[in-house]
């Protein structure tokens, strides 16, 4: 297993009376393109901000590059090797493109001027433009440029493609893939676009109400999750399966549906002993897995 670039253990964060994080743990490994999924308010932005030192956890610990995020000095070191693109693509509105680039580049001695030219062209930006006049797409382009040109080992992005048209989204994803492939960067990005996560991510972390529900390789999820339909002659029974991996079971008249996160074969075997008329096994999409883990009826 490659080294853990991000490690969070039992993070808790309370804002007044609201518990945003309730014991959240996760791991992201080097070289991974990891998707971070969760409903609005599940705690994604809070988690990302804690990793970068913008917020302090109420309790629990997190490490990035092995350094503790709650330590102010260590946190500065973390940010020397990491890049953050927040949900609103924070920038200095009162600066020009050139100023913002020079400001950022001043902190990163390994600044990639070649990539800077490339991304200026790709995203249609020119040095004299004023940030405050930017559309959403341009802000994203510039924020991404600033993140990618600093030669960071880790990119943390909060909903990088939200509000973007499909072409721009694809450019963003393509840039992320390129950096993971050739620059050996690790990417941890939150998103509501499940299809995009399915497209480029190799691992996924799904959280709900301040806790991690699922942490797995996408390929494993695809291979393991199954929806099994048993149809019976009469009213479907409500068995208790000995086989592990049953996430949910529902009966609708003569149909018993089982959502399995693993061991579908064993469940099918057991189910057959109840003499169903037919057995149907179908794959489960990431969207369904996500909805399921967020407590929504499938």
């Amino acid at each position: 297993m490659p080294e853990a670039i991000i490690e969070a253990t039992n993070l808790r964060k309370t804002f007044g009376h609201v518990e945003a994080l309730r014991g959240l743990s996760l791991e992201v490994h080097a070289g991974s393109l990891c998707g971070f999924l969760g409903r609005n308010g599940a705690g994604k932005t809070t988690t990302l901000k804690i990793l970068l030192g913008m917020m302090r956890p109420t309790s629990g610990e997190a490490r990035v590059f092995g350094r503790r995020v709650s330590d102010s000095v260590a946190s500065v070191e973390i940010r020397r090797d990491a890049a953050f693109v927040g949900e609103d693509k924070p920038l200095f509105d009162y600066m020009t493109v050139q100023d913002v680039i020079r400001f950022t580049a001043a902190f990163y001695p390994r600044w990639r001027h070649d990539l800077e030219q490339h991304y200026l062209a790709t995203f249609g930006l020119s040095p004299a433009m004023k940030v405050k006049t930017f559309s959403r797409g341009m802000r994203t382009g510039l924020a991404l440029l600033l993140a990618l040109c600093r030669n960071a080992r880790l990119l943390i992005l909060d909903e990088p493609t939200s509000g973007l048209d499909p072409a721009m989204s694809e450019q963003v994803l393509q840039a992320l893939v390129r950096h993971v492939a050739s620059e050996e960067t690790t990417v941890f990005f939150s998103s509501h676009q499940i299809a995009e996560v399915e497209q480029v991510a190799d691992r996924v972390v799904i959280i709900d109400r301040g806790r991690t529900m699922i942490t797995a390789a996408l390929d494993d999820l695809r291979a393991q999750y199954r929806r099994i339909h048993f149809v019976f002659d009469e009213e479907a029974p409500a068995p208790v399966f000995r086989a592990k991996g049953v996430e949910r079971m529902y009966r609708d008249g003569r149909v018993l549906t089982v959502l399995a996160s693993a061991g579908a074969e064993r469940i099918v075997e057991e189910g057959r002993t109840l003499r169903p008329v037919s057995v149907d096994v179908v794959p489960v999409s990431l969207k369904e897995i996500f909805l399921e883990s967020s407590g929504m009826e499938g």
Partner: protein
């Protein structure tokens, strides 16, 4: 060859790496890829198709395991010398005949097109570990 790879559909239910494997095999069958020709590198292909490089790597490993391609260390991926397009086409033709026969028999039992499709999909999906090799 680079431009003729189609972007895989991430939500189709078929794992992306399987879609890639199918594309390579199909390209060999149709003659778009010939024995000994070089395939795109893992990183460039991943970037072009905007998919995870591990997915491309997995597809290439599987194709190598099946003997369809050779991975030459430091040089890249090449279509196997002993792959004959006609042999693949023969397999596909034989497969077509089998499927045609099966569908005729299923129709004779009164099953409709959709039901037949679902049966095939369920059969394919209901075998966890189909096509997987431990990484």
């Amino acid at each position: 060859m680079e431009t003729s790879f189609l972007r895989p559909n991430p939500s189709s239910g078929v794992p992306i790496y399987l879609q890639l494997i199918e594309q390579v095999k199909h390209a060999i069958e149709t003659g778009a890829l010939r024995a000994g020709e070089q395939l795109p590198g893992i990183r460039p292909l991943a970037e072009q198709l905007v998919i995870n490089p591990n997915t491309v790597a997995k597809a290439y490993r599987e194709l190598e395991h099946e003997g369809v391609i050779e991975l030459r260390h430091g040089a890249g991926a090449f279509v196997s010398g002993n792959v004959r397009p006609r042999q693949m086409t023969a397999n596909v033709r034989a497969g077509q005949a089998i499927v045609a026969g099966a569908i005729t028999r299923l129709r004779a039992r009164g099953l409709g097109e959709e039901e037949i499709r679902r049966l095939f999909e369920a059969q394919l999906a209901g075998l966890p570990g189909k096509g997987e090799r431990s990484a």
